[in-house]
C-alpha cells in the first residue's frame, strides 16, 4: 500500500481575489457584461426605430434617465479598459516577421491605438455633421 497521501488544495470560487493579476483578468473578462448589455440596448433602439417615431422618441427619452447615463458612463470606462487590455494582448496572437526579426509588440500596440483614435474621430465627425 502506498504511503503517499497527496494533498489536493481545493480551489475556492474566490480564487481570483488572491492577487491583482487575477483581479485585473476578471475585470477584463467582466467588461463583456457591459458589452452585452450595450448590444441589447442598441438592439432595443433598433426595435423601437422599426416601430415608428413615437416609440423611438420614448427610447431616446429612456436613454436620458440617470440609470441609463450611469450605465453608459460605467460601460464606457469598462469597454475602454477592454480596449487597453485587448491592445496589450493582441500582438501575442500575431507572429509577424520582417527581415529575420519579429515585429515588435509595441508597433502593433501603437497601431491599434492609432486605429482607435482614427475610427473614433471619423465616427464622431459623421455623426456631428
Amino acid at each position: 500500500m502506498s504511503i503517499r497521501q497527496p494533498y489536493v488544495r481545493p480551489i475556492k470560487t474566490s480564487w481570483w481575489l488572491k492577487n491583482t493579476f487575477y483581479i485585473k483578468y476578471m475585470i477584463r473578462e467582466g467588461s463583456s457584461i457591459a458589452t452585452v448589455i450595450y448590444s441589447l440596448v442598441l438592439l432595443t433602439g433598433l426595435f423601437r426605430l422599426a416601430q415608428g417615431p413615437a416609440t423611438f422618441a420614448n427610447w431616446l427619452h429612456a436613454m436620458q434617465s440617470p440609470v441609463a447615463i450611469i450605465f453608459h458612463l460605467i460601460a464606457l470606462v469598462w469597454v475602454l479598459y477592454h480596449s487597453v487590455t485587448w491592445f496589450e494582448l493582441a500582438p501575442k496572437a500575431a507572429d509577424i516577421w520582417l527581415g529575420g526579426k519579429r515585429l515588435a509588440d509595441s508597433v502593433i500596440i501603437k497601431a491599434m491605438y492609432g486605429l482607435l483614435i482614427v475610427v473614433s474621430v471619423i465616427v464622431l465627425a459623421i455623426v456631428a455633421i
Partner: protein, 246 residues
C-alpha cells in the same frame, strides 16, 4: 538592515499531518542570500526534516519552484533582500499541483504532458549523419528559439487558473514546447501535433489569463505560444471543414 527574516513555511508530512500547517523559521539575513540558501540554512541548522527539491542553484535545472507570498517563483532566483522591508516571507508548495510532502509537489502529470506533445523532430525520411547538419539560418532559429528556453519548472502551471480548475488542460509549458517543434524549420511533424493542439484540453482550455508568461523565469512567453496555437488550430479547423469527404 534587518539581522534576520521570518519564513512562514508550509509543512505537510503524510502520516503526521492531516493537512498542511505553517511553521515559522527565523533565518539570518545576508544581502546575496537566495530563498534557496535560506531553506538550506533551515535544513542544516533548524529543522533537517524540511523537504524541497533543488539542484543547480543557478536557475536552470527547474527543480526549485514554489509559491513565495502567493507568487510562483524559483527559490534560487528569489532573494531575501527583496523581502527585507516586511521582514517576512510565506513559502508554500507550487499551487495547482498535489502536495506530496512539505514543498514537494507531484510533477508526474506535468512531465507526462510534456511528453504527450511529441516533443521531438519528426521527418518523413530520416536524415543521415553523412549529409551533415541541416541548414538553419539565424532567422529560422529565431522563430522558435524563445520557446525552446523552457526549464520545465512548472511555475506557469501554478500561475494558470485554468490548469487549477481543470487539471486535464495540457497547460502552458507543454503547449509552448509543442509550438517550439512546430516552428522548427527542420521539423515535419506538425500534422501529428495538431491533434493534441486541437482538443478541448489543448489550446482551447486557455482563456488567455496571461499570468503564465508573467511568472515565467525564462521569458518563454507560453501565453503567446498558445494564442498562436489557437490561430493555427483555427486554420486547421477551416481547412478540415473545406476538405472534401471529411
Amino acid at each position: 538592515m534587518t539581522e534576520s527574516i521570518t519564513l512562514h513555511v508550509q509543512r505537510y508530512r503524510p502520516g503526521q499531518d492531516n493537512e498542511p500547517v505553517m511553521q515559522d523559521f527565523e533565518v539570518p539575513f545576508r544581502l546575496e542570500m537566495s530563498l534557496l540558501d535560506a531553506l538550506g540554512y533551515i535544513k542544516d541548522h533548524l529543522d533537517s526534516t524540511l523537504a524541497y527539491r533543488w539542484s543547480c542553484r543557478m536557475a536552470v535545472c527547474g527543480s526549485c519552484g514554489m509559491m513565495v507570498d502567493g507568487t510562483p517563483k524559483l527559490a534560487c532566483k528569489t532573494f531575501l533582500r527583496d523581502y527585507q522591508k516586511s521582514g517576512q516571507m510565506t513559502v508554500e508548495p507550487l499551487a495547482n499541483f498535489p502536495v506530496e510532502r512539505d514543498l514537494v509537489v507531484d510533477m508526474a502529470d506535468f512531465v507526462a504532458k510534456l511528453e504527450a506533445v511529441k516533443p521531438y523532430i519528426i521527418t518523413k525520411t530520416p536524415r543521415r549523419i553523412e549529409d551533415g547538419c541541416t541548414t538553419q539560418t539565424p532567422a529560422q532559429l529565431a522563430r522558435y528559439k524563445q520557446f525552446s528556453m523552457c526549464i520545465n519548472c512548472g511555475l506557469c502551471y501554478a500561475a494558470c487558473p485554468q490548469y487549477g480548475l481543470n487539471p486535464k488542460f495540457t497547460g502552458p509549458a507543454a503547449l509552448a514546447l509543442l509550438h517550439r517543434y512546430n516552428l522548427d524549420s527542420r521539423d515535419e511533424g506538425k500534422a501529428q501535433r495538431m491533434e493534441v493542439l486541437n482538443q478541448e484540453e489543448g489550446v482551447w482550455s486557455c482563456t488567455f489569463v496571461g499570468y503564465c508568461s508573467q511568472v515565467c523565469p525564462k521569458d518563454v512567453d507560453p501565453a503567446a505560444a498558445i494564442q498562436l496555437g489557437k490561430v493555427a488550430s483555427s486554420k486547421d479547423y477551416l481547412i478540415n471543414l473545406l476538405k472534401p469527404g471529411s
